[in-house]
């Protein structure tokens, strides 16, 4: 294939064909819905639903001790805002039932002699039965409870076992202007998302998913339909070249992808108050490059199939794999090592890193140079392969 400089004829023919494409899109109601409504609904539903936020854990309490210390512990946990007491009794059967039926996800068991043991030996155990079906959430709940217990025992320590050291520390606290004198004072802060809102994390990723869908699915489906109804043959017998055909077919979808991104950004900003900390110009530049990759993959799929149904199934299949190992829904750092390596080859991963980096963290060009370079290489590669694969003659 020879790469000539685009002459005037090339531009004219490409634009004419692209114009036809635009008319098709405008005429086709289903397509319009696919382009406008689907992304909107996706954005609204997915951004709200895609959350691992930990709400108050429904907890069943079995308190065999029934002393002020054990009651204090229950009250302390309940008032910490992470535990909701849903039932209480001294019957293990009932707690088991609550767990099996899903009413409770945590059972707190305070043994007999809890307070007595604390006074006598300074230690006591409590039982925590955790429904660990939801692995990571269970881990966080467990650490929260452990931290609350730690804080509670620190408070209790002075009251229950007035050792010499404790008294000394207490009087030191009383005398000193700083209550935590001689302590390591740990202050923690979460950057970029101090309110720990999952929407801030998800909306930039849903934008990536939208652009991917438009780029790959719509393109594959569109060309497959021309094949199915036979209009592709008509195009093939016209004098337009492969490069012209490909450019004209892809250009409208490239623009559409950017339009959908704009739509998503506006909705994300207005409805979800999504942060935009970096440069939008940079984001659009990256999206422009990424869309070339997505479109080329769509074109490749369309060359492999005969019908729309096949195009849909195969694009769905691919997009699913793509999105799953991109860090879109689940962080890449929590994937197994082999999958992390595999994901380096996934363009979605890099665009997603750019989207989150620019929008949430305010990353600039210097911070995303690596991802941009990788995407540019993929764009050049994918486009070359797709154009080579596309043949004007049908078999």
């Amino acid at each position: 294939m020879t790469f000539r400089l685009p002459g005037r004829a090339f531009i004219r023919r490409t634009l004419a064909l692209a114009h036809a494409e635009v008319l098709h899109v405008k005429r086709d109601r289903a397509m319009l819905v696919q382009i406008t409504m689907v992304p909107l609904i996706q954005l609204l539903i997915v951004s709200n639903a895609a959350t691992f936020e930990i709400k108050r854990t429904p907890t069943y309490v079995i308190d065999y001790d029934r002393t002020s210390t054990s009651r204090g512990l229950v009250t302390r946990l309940a008032s910490s805002g992470l535990v909701k007491v849903v039932g209480e009794s001294t019957s293990p059967d009932e707690s088991n039932d609550a767990m099996l039926s899903g009413r409770a996800t945590l059972v707190l068991m305070i043994p007999r002699e809890f307070e007595a043991s604390l006074v006598r030996t300074g230690t006591a155990t409590v039982g925590l039965d955790l429904n660990a079906e939801k692995g990571s959430a269970a881990g966080i709940v467990q650490s929260y409870v452990a931290q609350t217990l730690e804080a509670y025992s620190r408070e209790l320590g002075v009251a229950i076992r007035p050792t010499r050291r404790n008294v000394a520390v207490r009087s030191a606290q009383f005398l000193s202007p700083r209550p935590d004198a001689g302590m390591i004072d740990v202050r923690a802060r979460g950057w970029y998302n101090p309110t720990l809102d999952y929407k801030d994390y998800m909306v930039p990723a849903v934008l990536v998913a939208l652009v991917t869908m438009v780029g790959t699915l719509l393109t594959a489906q569109n060309i497959a339909r021309e094949k199915e109804v036979g209009t592709l043959e008509q195009l093939n017998v016209t004098p337009i070249s492969r490069a012209e055909f490909v450019t004209a077919k892809l250009l409208p979808f490239w623009v559409l992808g950017l339009l959908d991104l704009t739509l998503g950004l506006i909705v994300g900003r207005i409805v979800f108050a999504m942060p935009i900390r970096g440069s939008l110009f940079l984001l659009y530049g990256a999206a422009g490059i990424y869309l070339i990759v997505a479109l080329a993959i769509g074109l490749l799929i369309s060359t492999l199939v005969d019908t729309q149904q096949q195009a849909m199934f195969i694009s769905f299949f691919l997009i699913m794999i793509y999105l799953l190992i991109s860090g879109l829904l689940t962080p890449i750092d929590s994937m197994p090592h082999w999958m992390q390596i595999l994901s380096e080859f996934n363009p979605v991963r890099h665009f997603n890193a750019i989207s989150r980096g620019v929008l949430i963290k305010g990353a600039g060009l210097r911070q995303i140079t690596f991802q941009l370079t990788v995407l540019s290489i993929y764009a050049a590669l994918a486009m070359t392969v797709a154009i080579r694969q596309y043949r004007k003659r049908t078999a």
């Binding site: 660990a132 939801k134 409870v145 931290q147 302590m183 101090p194 911070q367």
Partner: protein, 367 residues
Amino acid sequence: MNALLGLLRKEWYHILRDRRTLFVIIFYPVVQVMLFGSSIRTDVRDVRLAIVDPTPDATTLELRNRFTASSVFRIVSVTPTDASLAHLFQTDTAQVAVAFQPRFGERLSRGEAAQVLVFSDATEPNSGTSRQMYVKKVLQDYQREIGLSTGAIRIEPRVRSRFNPTRVSANLFVPGLMAVILTIIAALMTALSLTREKETGTMEVLLVSPLRPWQIIVGKIAPYLAIGLFGVLSVYSVARIVFGVPMHGSLILLIAEGMLFILVSLSIGILISARTTSQRVAMLAVVMITLLPTQMLSGVVFPIESMPRFLQFMSQFFPARWFIVIVRGVMLKGVGLAYLWQETVILGVMAVILLTASTRSFKVRLQ
């Protein structure tokens, strides 16, 4: 009856002839389960830590060693100022940073409060929180060991994790995926196969044939019921063999509930195809009405109790939500109908309503 058998044969040929779609149907469940099953690890490991230490001394060096000694942290940068932290976070080089106050050790030894700032990248809130808690734990352990803690008593939690003691995420996701895969096979395939008959005009031939509406529906449903059964078994096998997901309950019950769920999905597919005329519209409707809600709203990946009220309410109308409770209950908790009868009844009612509605809407078009 002969006519029905003929129709069944025809459907089989259709399915078997389309190799690429068949390939996707067979491999979709396997690949999705493999990917999802291994895409989430919940243990915190290899956290990239940045240290800001303006005046390194024995105490801060000791603390640094403690961070690296645990397999949890890997120190990626040590700087005297926090100026470069933003860059480290933005490029994702560091995930958490610990900044010591100047003259940290000195202050501590003089009995003053020594401050440590812990910054974590909370872009993904839960990971951010867990990493932060790990850092705090290292600091607290150190504090306790050097005897700075005032708490002379300890309440020790003895934790027992039930139903998924190793907290393997595959145990959570894989059973849920069964619902997604069955929805795709059942609803999407049926809707597409019926609308394709309309699009290509062969539906008319079916309608003028002596077949009764219910026979057409049975003919369309039966093959996909079989494929769905295959789907249940393949997800089950991958779950058991590859991921070692436990099976505490009865397989027969699981298969029976699976068939019930497939029936519901199939009727949705038929209902959609009765109201649409082209494959693309049908496909769009299926994605919007069943696939997206099943993936996002049924608790497959994201827990329902974390969602806003409105979506929690909405999720009750999607059959997958109930089916997932059943699958997890049977596989992970080993419970039987005694605990799952409510979900089963809901699915049953949905099946009856939807099947009636789809047969009805089919009749209308006969006239």
